[in-house]
Amino acid sequence: MVTEPVVSLAGIARTYGRGDNVVHALRGVDLEIAEGEMVAVMGPSGSGKSTLMNILGCLDRPSAGRYLLDGQDVAGVSKRDLSAIRLRRLGFIFQSFHLLPRTSALENVELPLVYAGVPKQERRARAMAALNRVGLEDRQHHTSAELSGGQQQRVAIARALVQRPRLVLADEPTGNLDSRTSLEVMATLQTLNRDGATLVIVTHESDIAKYASRVLVCRDGRIRKDERRTPQDAAADLAVWHDEEQDPAEEEERIT
């Protein structure tokens, strides 16, 4: 692809504390992510993958380096402008879903639109469309307590997508789910990726990473491995995994 990358990091470093207690969470990361990629970030705890995600998600600012999001330098912008960037260009999916309690699925998906000041009718329509994309249009009035874990995460995915963000960041999206629902969620993410969404997924499960078209491995604040895989590789890996996990006949329907 010759288009401008969605993400371009150069020499990103992040340190915490000062003096003798300085902790180097990231020690110079260079990374480009192109539109339409599905990137898995792996690594042991303390490797810097969470810090990397926070910086990619504009929740944290690097101590040094340059971060171009869609060509715009976001390393030095104010907190206030970062909020606006998160609102309009980024989508977030969390390990523990983070749906608002006692609030319907539809209203949860509407939340970013509320903050963006989208009028009510348009908000409703766009939130319904997003719920449609994750296959939960018939659950719009259910609150999170009335939804299964997998359904809750799919509502969260719809919420992340509703603003049509340039980049969706998922932090251990299947961490709180059993393996069967994990598959559902990953299948949903993969479908969205095929429809053009650019995804970065942090995971420590290599099975989950197999869905990705590219796998980054972090260690000691640096990216140690950057592996691109063809769709065929990914499919082959998945087939093996599914064979191990469960009856392929049943799973066939689920993925497609």
């Binding site: 977030f92 983070h98 509320v114 000041g117």
Partner: protein
Amino acid sequence: MSFLAAFHLAFRAILRNRMRSLLTELGVIIGVAALIVTVASGEGARAQINEQVASLGANILLVDGRATSAGAVRLGAGSRALMKEDLLEIVRSASAVKLASPVDRQSAQVINGDRNWATSVYGVWAAFFEIRDWSLVSGRFFDEREVERAAKVCLLGHTVVENIFGSQDPVGQTIRVRQMPCEVIGTLRSKGQSSMGQDQDDLVLMPQPTFKSRMLNEDRNVVHDLILSVVSAADMELAQRQVTAIVRQKHRIPDGGEDDFRVRNLSDMAKAREKIVETQTGMLRNIAAVSLLVGGIGIMNIMLVSVTERTREIGLRLAIGAAEVQVLLQFLVEAVVLSAMGGIIGVAVGIGGAIAMAHFMEWPVLITPFWVLLAVAISVGIGVAFGFYPARKAASLDPIQALRYE
């Protein structure tokens, strides 16, 4: 996020914890209710006083000759009364005084045949009718000549007529006041109840000399109370000074000596009464102030609890791109709604309390929209003042840490 959305969220959050919200609002409820009761009774008393002043006439001075001290010597009541000459001198030489009359009063039994009634009998001059603006239903007033010769005539108030004559016309009839027979020459038009609940029509008027020498067997030249009408409201102070100077001179009080009488005008009396009411409601006002302060602190406390409870929710809102000011607004509006709900409930409780007070304690109360609105505005102000810190705290949370909060 619009204000409307913030209100929607606030109501939802408050209704989710109904009991907690109500308990939190209690301080504001008590404070606002106490404020409303204080103000209602204060305003009620003020309105009553104003009404009395208006019904009695603003241009009226009262002179009380029963002062109980002369110089440093305390005297018994009535030991140094005003004299008829004092009164005549006042009318003659006080330019600001228009009319004057004695208003000596005695309670007495009035009897018509087999019916009798206890009422107040006043000894007055003919000028009294004009000073107090009485008019007739039937018959006539007595005149100066009848006063001079102490004629045994009297006028009856509406209540007295009803009680001893019923529907019969009393004019021309003779009644007995105490032991004295007395011809009824007229009946007075009803003035109704005063706002104090006093019946203004329960009276008998007769010439002062008749009252004094024939009914009471006392010296007709001695007068206890005077009522004076002043030329205009602007001359009240002048009249007061003139009257004081004349009576002092007549009584030979040396310069620097203490008056042995009192000249009062109704607005001074009104002010004194207002002061009494203020003292009476002062305690309640302090309760209101303390309760509102405690209520505000309660709201701050519960909002801090709420922010802590909802740390993850706040983290999520901030992470997905809510501006800090939007989160601040959400919590500030919640505090304001909480406090304003307390204020509205407090207004209702306060109005109920004021009505109960009017009913059972017979206090005059007056509830004005101004104070109701002000009370609600105060509670909104409390919400803003005490909700700001928790809201600020919510808005300044770090989304990364807030999302991880357990």
